[in-house]
């Protein structure tokens, strides 16, 4: 019998594309991370783990990890929680649901660079609307709070310019920008919850909204939640445009907003240290890969319903 090679022809285009646009760049980046290559150089030297060694030991990279993990730790729970809350509220509306959907989804659609300018104005220490609004509280009962007292005596925070506040402010903008997307995903998840389960819960004695949420909504949204959390984690690790828009000169006040993507951009593109940039990229890749594996494991083990 003649052997047919048709199967190879069927899979070849897909494999070719996957290798060229996915596998090969990763291999190249991994290789570069062990060199001191710079763009334009004729040759490079193998320097083993020195790039990684620098990432672990240098303080600017420790700040990178602090900033990145703070951002992820703030943005993921808040934007997932707010997304779920907004979806539940909108789902319970009989009218105007579409209006709210549009409003909450606007930040997702808007170009963040343009929005960053608006935020920069709003957060301006002296003329910004936020500090002006806060100043209106001076002289009222609000001054009994320590925050207001200090703000009225001296001045309200610099927000983006203060190393105490900068990462939290950027995180807040991240939440503002991201939760609308999670809301849309949750709204889609909610439509797939069978109505009969709510009826069964009512017959079984679920009296409060919390009972229904605990018994039906939350477990049935399990697959959606795993997806939403993973997506939000990856998006939070990838945060770049806000940082670049607010702090083009590098990482914010004393590098407190020096997130990973910005570090890659700064080292690899701005300073042309390709090897170092590639090493940070590899670390980023490991995080994302780990997240994806955890998601797969959760999907297969805990939240998959037949």
């Amino acid at each position: 019998m003649r052997r047919s090679y048709a199967h190879i022809w069927f899979v070849a285009p897909a494999i070719f594309l996957m290798v060229v646009i996915l596998i090969l760049p990763i291999v190249v980046a991994a290789t570069l991370s062990f060199t001191d290559y710079s763009l334009g150089n004729e040759s490079f030297n193998w320097i083993d783990w020195k790039n990684y060694d620098r990432i672990v030991s240098r303080s600017s990279f420790q700040k990178m990890f602090t900033a990145t993990f703070t951002y992820v730790a703030v943005v993921v729970p808040l934007s997932v929680g707010l997304g779920l809350g907004a979806a539940l509220l909108i789902n319970s509306l009989t009218r105007f649901g579409d209006v709210y959907k549009t409003i909450y989804f606007l930040p997702v659609m808007a170009a963040l660079l343009a929005m960053a300018i608006v935020w920069e104005f709003a957060l301006h220490p002296t003329v910004g609307i936020i500090n002006k609004t806060l100043a209106m509280g001076c002289g009222t009962w609000l001054e009994s709070f320590g925050f207001f007292q200090r703000g009225c005596e001296r001045n309200f925070p610099l927000w983006l310019g203060d190393k105490q506040y900068a990462i939290w402010t950027v995180s807040f903008i991240g939440v503002w920008q991201g939760f609308g997307f999670n809301m849309v995903l949750y709204l889609a998840g909610l439509t797939s919850v069978p109505r009969e389960l709510y009826h069964a819960a009512a017959m079984d004695g679920a009296k409060t909204g919390w009972d229904r949420f605990r018994l039906v909504t939350w477990p049935m949204l399990g697959p959606t939640t795993v997806f939403v959390v993973t997506i939000t984690c990856i998006r939070s690790f990838q945060v770049f445009d806000t940082v670049e828009a607010f702090y083009p000169q590098g990482g914010g006040p004393s590098k407190s907003v020096y997130v990973m993507m910005f570090a890659i951009f700064e080292k690899g593109i701005q300073q042309n240290l390709m090897g170092l940039g590639a090493a940070v990229t590899m670390i980023f890749l490991v995080f994302v890969l780990a997240l994806t594996l955890i998601q797969r494991w959760l999907v297969e083990r805990r939240v998959h319903y037949a």
Binding site: P194, H199, A201, A202, M203, D204, G205, A206, P219, A306
Partner: protein
């Protein structure tokens, strides 16, 4: 345990009236304590809506609903103490069968803090133990002990059905509401579950309200059945009487398989009922005009020869059910379905000419408004007197 009383229930979805559409007002229904009542009707007749109104999942537009002596118009489903089995079973997919069955107990018997995960079971260990014992007891009755640790996704249709039943049974509710619980099962299992449900009803002595579109379920299980159509109860009676003595042509056509034969006829001035050239022996005094004559397939007897007053037709289709054969006859102007035994049908192939005659006293006459026109002899329901004449001798033997 308590009876359930419906008084003038009406319901409309937007502009579309669903229940209580007739001029007579809303739905009235008095369900006795411990009764097995079936609501049967074609899809869209409002039977599920009526059940959901009883459950409290849907509010009525008008009318009163009481359970026992308690008016429950504004009482929420959770506080009506009814249990419901859904067509799709509606088991919680993330919980095991045991956990599913424990849900109604937990929601009723444990406080908010006792229901918290991890801490709850530690706080109220005794209560949890009692609760699981109750679950185990119910599981034993339904013979699903082996399934308690499985999730609904790992169960077959019949097993899910039992688990859903277990969840309904585990706390003693006032009444069981069942919304087509058997329609997702295969035919053999459906017949089996039919007898099991009827047995369960006898054991529990509880009130069952059972919704189905399957007349055989209604006929085999219920104490009383209500035939619904177009948002109204057309007839409410014992299954046997509904079949033998329908009060409405629509009831007669819906109950009975194959469907009752209806022949167009008329009543002459002297009270004779004539249909398809055949005249009934009994007289209908008073009635005039066009009527429908209903003849069930088993009330027609195949004969060897044509007699005065028998029908002659060509066989166009034969359905062999093993014990019976139903012959579809083309009379030229109408079609008749006739029941006969396989031995007799053996030499009656498609195209054969067959003579048949109705059994005396079995024909039912319905007026133009679908209402039954009773002969003077059958004035009281179920006490039909037979008029022996009019049927040829052979038919009597058969």
């Amino acid at each position: 345990m308590a009876g359930i009383k419906l008084d003038g229930i009406r319901k409309a979805f937007g502009e579309t009236p669903v229940l209580g559409t007739g001029p007579s007002g809303g739905i009235d229904l008095d369900i006795a304590d411990g009764e097995f009542l079936t609501l049967v009707g074609p899809s869209g007749c409002g039977k599920s809506t009526l059940l959901r109104i009883i459950a409290g999942l849907e509010g009525q537009d008008a009318g009163d609903l009481s359970i026992g002596d308690r008016l429950v118009n504004t009482v929420r489903p959770a506080e009506r103490n009814l249990a419901m089995v859904f067509q799709s079973y509606a088991l919680y997919p993330h919980l095991t069968v045991a956990q599913n069955m424990a849900v109604p107990l937990k929601l009723r018997e444990l406080s908010f803090s006792e229901r918290l995960p991890l801490i709850g079971p530690l706080m109220a260990r005794e209560k949890y133990r009692a609760l699981m014992a109750q679950v185990a007891e119910t599981a034993e009755v339904l013979k699903i002990e082996a399934l308690l640790d499985r999730k609904p996704g790992q169960l077959s249709g019949g097993q899910r059905q039992r688990a859903a039943l277990g969840r309904a049974m585990v706390r003693q509710p006032v009444a069981f509401l069942m919304d087509e619980p058997l329609s997702n099962l295969d035919a053999a299992l459906r017949v089996h579950m039919r007898s099991e449900l009827a047995e369960l009803h006898r054991d529990l002595q509880a009130t069952f309200i059972y919704v189905t579109h399957d007349q055989s379920e209604a006929l085999t299980m219920s104490d009383r059945m209500a035939v619904m159509m177009g948002g109204e109860i057309l007839q409410l009676d014992r299954p046997g009487l509904i079949y033998d003595d329908p009060a409405d042509l629509r009831v007669a056509e819906f109950i009975g398989s194959p469907k009752i034969n209806t022949l167009k006829g008329e009543v002459t001035s002297d009270g004779r009922v004539i249909a398809e050239g055949f005249s009934l022996q009994r007289r209908l005094p008073g009635a005039r005009g066009a009527v429908s004559v209903g003849l069930r397939p088993e009330h027609l007897v195949v004969q060897d020869m044509a007699y005065e007053g028998s029908f002659t037709g060509r066989v166009v289709h034969a359905e062999n059910l093993g014990s019976d054969v139903y012959l579809h006859l083309d009379l030229g102007t109408a079609r008749l379905v006739v029941r006969t035994d396989p031995a007799r049908a053996a030499d009656l192939g498609i195209g054969a000419t067959v003579n048949c005659a109705p059994l005396a006293g079995k024909a039912m006459v319905f007026g133009a408004d679908n209402a039954r026109l009773r002969f003077p002899e059958e004035s009281a329901a179920g006490t039909e007197t037979k008029t022996p004449a009019g049927t040829p001798p052979q038919a009597k033997v058969a």
